[in-house]
């Protein structure tokens, strides 16, 4: 059993600060961490390693600082970590990212029976790369997996949560699942794991190693362009109600709620 986990490094939002003038997030100087949702994907892989002696490869694309993040996945128990890093990859949208990752899997002959990824990354919040990656490799896909039920010889059974139902699917491997937090409770790294990871190497490949052409990569290879970034409603003038005015404020709130309720479907 070979498992491939897709991971992304994101800014550590626990320590994020907001620029008081623009109201935007200050990204500089933020530590990079593994996308918190990817930890649930990795944890599921680690559980399968314990129960089914699975071999785990973690694959990521990102700046060189991602190496530290991938090292942490080795400390947790991943067997192999691969980083795709090149200035030519910078500015990739979801198509270019998925393309680069899927090409790397082909070119590096990365073997897998099951690919696991998190629902989305906490920074971009698109949740598109897992599906696009899978389709580029013609892999079956189950999204929004809330529970891993079982692993049989050549198939898995998983529960998927959608708007109106819990669906249980049996999927022939190889396949990709994107998982919600409820699939696992991530473990913490141990000291011995950290020590052990120091002797392991994160494999790093650039565009040339993968034989990829710049036209398909990074910003150049990305179909989408950000044309405008703007702030909305920077500051609000808060009308404060307290003490004897409180009741007036409550009436005001009730008025607003009555105005907007009912326009909503259940």
């Amino acid at each position: 059993m070979k498992i491939l986990v897709l991971a992304k490094q994101v800014p550590d939002t626990d320590k994020v600060k907001i620029d008081p003038l623009t109201g935007t997030m200050i990204r500089e100087g933020l530590d990079a961490v593994i996308n918190p949702l990817d930890l649930h994907a990795l944890e599921l892989a680690l559980c399968l390693k314990e129960t089914h002696r699975a071999q785990i490869t973690v694959l990521s694309m990102g700046p060189m600082s991602t190496e530290m993040v991938l090292r942490d996945t080795l400390a947790l128990g991943a067997d192999r970590a691969i980083l795709l890093s090149d200035s030519a990859f910078a500015g990739s949208d979801t198509w270019a990212t998925s393309y680069t990752l899927s090409e790397a899997v082909k070119k590096l002959n990365i073997e897998y029976d099951l690919v696991i990824c998190g629902e989305k990354a906490t920074d971009g919040e698109t949740g598109q790369v897992g599906v696009e990656f899978a389709v580029l490799l013609n892999l079956p896909v189950i999204t929004y997996v809330s529970r891993f039920v079982s692993l049989q010889n050549d198939s898995i059974v998983v529960e998927r949560t959608v708007e109106d139902a819990y669906e249980t699917w049996k999927v022939r491997l190889p396949a990709l699942i994107s998982v919600l937090r409820s699939v696992s409770e991530p473990r913490l790294p141990t000291l011995s794991g950290k020590k052990m990871s120091l002797s392991k190497k994160v494999e790093i490949y650039n565009a040339r190693d993968l034989g990829l052409k710049n036209n398909d990569l990074g910003l150049t290879g990305s179909p989408t362009r950000v044309v405008k970034v703007y702030n909305t409603k920077l500051s609000r003038n808060c009308q404060l109600y307290m003490g004897k005015d409180l009741n007036q404020g409550i009436q005001e709130v009730v008025k607003i709620l009555k105005n907007y309720k009912g326009s909503v479907r259940r």
Binding site: D123, V135, K170, V171, K228, L240, V254, V264
Partner: protein, 316 residues
């Protein structure tokens, strides 16, 4: 042609058709609705919202499975060649659209909250960007179709306006490596990123039992309950209720922050809401800086009073 894709005929479909019609007038094109789903779907009441409705119905399409849907949709998209393709940001849209984008080698913008077209026919796709009150507008200049998933309730339903044609496409059946073996219906709960009114609670509610008042209020106004990270960590609510950087970014019409002090991580997830109402005992709490209306009071008893007024009035 502007295309709208869905696997059911619901309010999301009508909202997207409303916006598609507005944009179609602007660039003088037609609107095409692609419906792929169960044989039971009836389109009579929606067909006049589009110039053309393309139906791909099968008894095997009752529940969504990626490849059977993907292969048939892709065929229809290549046949009708819409220059813009929209789908709701539901579990269906968020799965089928990236798959289609990968096959068609085109761009896709997730979770848009606003759309427009410029005079060159570029789809202007606007979505909340990382961390809070920043919005980003994205275009897909050289690839077609230009694809976007759109958050439910971003647009209003517009009146129908024409006699729409309906065309039925033949279905290609294929062997699926995914097999549905069990289905358990669940109460469709209001998702916090889809509700028009969100009532969020923080540690200021003091006890888990006290959060029932927020659920009651949310129920009365057909809204959803949100939560801060600290109360999710305390297991008062499951993670899908969490608003903020490590949870969801929400943009409702009305956001009520009850007993929430306003950590930057939380504020980043709610500050694009239209009206923000904050309830907190501490008048210097940072949440008031991003609020339109601030009630300096105990969160629980204030919610209780609001609920009481709304209940009394609905009884009357």
């Amino acid at each position: 042609m502007i295309g709208v894709v869905n696997n059911q005929i619901d309010k999301n479909t009508l909202e997207l058709l409303g916006k598609a019609n507005q944009m179609a007038v602007k660039i003088q094109t037609q609107v095409c609705l692609f419906i792929i789903g169960s044989k039971e779907l009836k389109v009579d009441h929606v067909k006049d919202y589009a110039d053309l409705t393309v139906l791909m119905l099968s008894e095997n399409f009752g529940r969504f499975s990626l490849y059977p849907f993907l292969i048939n949709l892709e065929k229809a998209i290549l046949k009708y060649r819409p220059s813009i393709l929209l789908s709701p940001a539901t579990t269906f849209g968020r799965t089928i659209m990236p798959a289609l984008a990968a096959r068609l080698r085109t761009g896709l913008t997730a979770d848009c909250t606003d759309l427009d077209v410029d005079d060159k026919g570029n789809l202007l796709q606007t979505r909340p960007a990382i961390g809070g009150n920043v919005m980003a507008t994205i275009i897909t200049p050289n690839h077609r179709p230009q694809m976007a998933t759109v958050r439910p309730r971003s647009f209003s339903v517009q009146p129908e306006k024409r006699e729409g044609r309906v065309r039925i496409e033949e279905i290609t059946e294929l062997e699926d490596s995914c097999e549905l073996i069990k289905i358990e219906k669940r109460e469709p709960s209001a998702q916090i990123d889809q509700a028009q009114i969100v009532v969020s609670v923080g540690k200021g509610l003091r006890r888990k039992e006290n959060t029932q008042i927020a659920e009651k209020l949310a129920q009365l106004v057909s809204g959803a309950v949100g939560a801060t990270r600290s109360v999710v960590d305390a297991k008062w609510f499951s993670h899908d209720h969490q608003v903020g950087l490590s949870g969801k970014t929400v943009k409702p019409k009305v956001y009520i922050a009850a007993g929430i002090s306003g950590a930057v991580q939380h504020i980043a997830g709610m500050q694009t809401s239209e009206i923000v109402i904050a309830i907190n005992k501490d008048r210097y709490a940072p949440i008031f800086k991003v609020a339109d209306i601030g009630l300096v009071a105990d969160a629980y008893s204030t919610l209780e009073q609001i609920v009481k007024i709304l209940e009394d009035e609905s009884d009357a």
